[in-house]
């Protein structure tokens, strides 16, 4: 997985200086248990911003 993303980088192209996710970061994006936790955390953060904005 990691190698696959790194292979998208073009030497001295647009994306040569970008930060690219490794296999763990990519796997965690769709890891259901971790994303359930993030779902709660993101909702709390959004509710705080929504409350500050009204």
């Amino acid at each position: 997985m990691s190698k696959k993303v790194e292979s998208n980088i073009k030497a001295y192209g647009n994306n040569f200086t970008t930060m690219t996710p490794g296999p763990l970061a990519i796997a965690m994006r769709t890891c259901k248990i971790w994303q359930l936790i993030r779902f709660v955390v993101i909702n709390i953060k959004m509710i705080i911003v929504v409350n500050k904005s009204h």
Binding site: G13, N15, M19, P21, R29, T30, F39, I42, K52
Partner: protein
């Protein structure tokens, strides 16, 4: 009995009209004039454009909802405002033209005591030769700006998938179709939803996908970018966006003004002044926005459009339009009450109000071509502004002409934004972001212009779940179903 007329039934106008009807009750009239018979939850058009939702999933009929709310509904487009009445009456009124089948062209005058201009934008496809004309979208590209456009976009996308399955490589070009576009977020969502769908169809390796936009850096999004706290760093949205583009193997062209579209090819000018061309087999380019072209007429018949409206066709409100150069810009330039400075009974909300200036730093090529995003006024801010304007007018109607106005400056307001990067219950992802405030305040928050305790972003399945829930939640709210007032804008 007072009458409030709302021009436009989109997110902002619908919010303003429905809250005003609730607060005013039957003692006063609320009238909505909108050319559309259906309400459209525009953020989900992205999913219609990749075949993951139908037009019916993102729209519903307005008439029964307004009947339930006690709102008088005119399916018509506004042509002009007569804020001083005419020679025979001092009562201000709007001129509207019916858009009902069989009644096309029927003209009617509707008097008002208070007026909200929430017409949204004209999709100005004609600004770029080949992107479209005065009648709308052209033949070379697709759009996801309306539900019908999105249905068409999906039909074209399906054709490319068939070609790729038959071994024919396809080039996709997604982004903005002019140097002064806004709504980069919609194009951002569409490009990654296409990438996701091509993966699912097993043809991703047959597709070259490229982004083209007027942003000076990836992740500008028309708000000058944002900084988010991550792993102990304040990380620019540029890093965030470039990382995603690289991960999904999507190349990009930025700082680009698309100046001509032909069959299978766009011509563009870069901020460097360099001219370029890019070929495509499938392209979705967001058009620039303009005001809908309302005229304003004085009592004696004089055209006072320039008094009410800015040159771009958006309604002037209590903003500082004389801020001048970028170095002089202040958060306080942004409007608070959205009241027209000339006629105190006219307000604007959503995209229809004239912003004082962009949020992103203005830039131009050495040839003098302006290339910078114009400011977004959609989504959560447009709903909050619509509600605040409705509140102000209701107070003036019920408490008197001197009742204080409610304020909702985009420089004091945050926004929660969820940008889909692919739909799927267990394999979907979206970038969930908050930004506070929307308009950066560099005096209050030196450096980034925003409070990094309340500005964050991350991509993942949780964001997709939130976007999907918001789809149902906001349609529920817009239909005025049980508990709708408890759902925040």
């Amino acid at each position: 009995m007072a009458r409030l007329v709302v021009l436009g039934g989109g997110v902002s106008g619908h919010t303003a009209a429905t809250f005003a009807a609730k607060w005013l009750g039957s003692a006063h009239e609320v009238v909505v004039v909108t050319p559309n018979s259906k309400w459209n939850w525009i953020p989900s058009n992205i999913w219609v454009g990749v075949g993951q939702m139908s037009k019916e999933d993102v729209t519903f009929d307005l008439a029964p909802v307004y009947a339930k709310a006690g709102i008088i509904y005119h399916q018509a487009k506004a042509l002009g405002i007569h804020p001083e009445g005419n020679e025979t009456s001092d009562k201000p009124y709007v001129v509207v033209e019916s858009t009902i089948d069989g009644e096309d062209g029927k003209i009617e005058n509707i008097e008002y005591d208070y007026l909200i201009n929430a017409t949204g934008p004209k999709l100005n496809f004609a600004a770029t030769p080949g992107l479209g004309d005065a009648n709308g979208l052209g033949e070379f590209t697709v759009s996801v700006c309306t539900a019908d456009h999105a249905v068409h976009a999906n039909e074209e996308l399906e054709k490319t998938i068939v070609k790729m399955k038959n071994g024919e490589r396809q080039k996709f070009l997604i982004g903005t179709g002019h140097g002064l576009c806004t709504c980069q977020g919609a194009a951002f969502e569409y490009i990654f939803n296409i990438e996701h769908e091509l993966n699912k169809a097993g043809v991703r390796d047959m597709a070259d996908i490229k982004w083209i936009s007027n942003e000076s850096f990836l992740g500008d999004f028309g708000v000058g970018g944002l900084h988010m706290k991550s792993m102990g760093f304040a990380v620019s949205s540029k890093i965030f966006a470039e990382s995603l583009f690289t991960e999904r193997n999507v190349d990009w062209i930025i700082g680009a003004h698309v100046n001509k579209v032909e069959k299978g090819k766009v011509h563009y000018e870069l901020l460097s002044g360099e001219m370029g061309e890019e070929e495509f087999d499938f392209s979705m380019l967001i058009p620039p926005f303009a005001g809908v072209g309302l005229k304003a007429i004085a009592k004696d018949g004089t055209d006072i459009t320039a008094t009410l409206f800015a040159p771009n066709g958006f309604l002037k409100v209590d903003a500082n339009y004389a801020a001048g150069a970028y170095e002089n810009w202040k958060a306080s330039d942004w409007p608070k009450t959205y009241q027209n400075p000339t006629y105190g009974n006219i307000f604007a909300c959503g995209i229809a109000f004239a912003p004082p200036h962009p949020i992103s730093k203005p830039m131009s090529s050495p040839n003098g071509t302006p290339i910078n995003p114009t400011p977004p006024r959609t989504g959560m801010p447009s709903g909050i502004i619509g509600k605040a304007v409705a509140h102000s007018i209701c107070d003036r109607i019920t408490k008197g002409e001197n009742a204080p106005l409610h304020e909702a400056s985009m420089a004091d307001m945050g926004a929660a934004c969820v940008a889909s990067a692919g739909k799927g219950l267990f394999d979907g992802t979206a970038a969930a972001m908050t930004i506070y405030p929307v308009v950066p305040d560099f005096d209050k928050y030196p450096g980034t212009g925003r409070d990094t305790d309340y500005t964050f972003g991350e991509i993942g399945l949780a964001g997709h779940w939130i976007k999907h829930i918001l789809h149902h939640l906001f349609i529920w709210k817009a239909k005025l179903k049980f508990g709708w007032t408890l759902i925040p804008e």
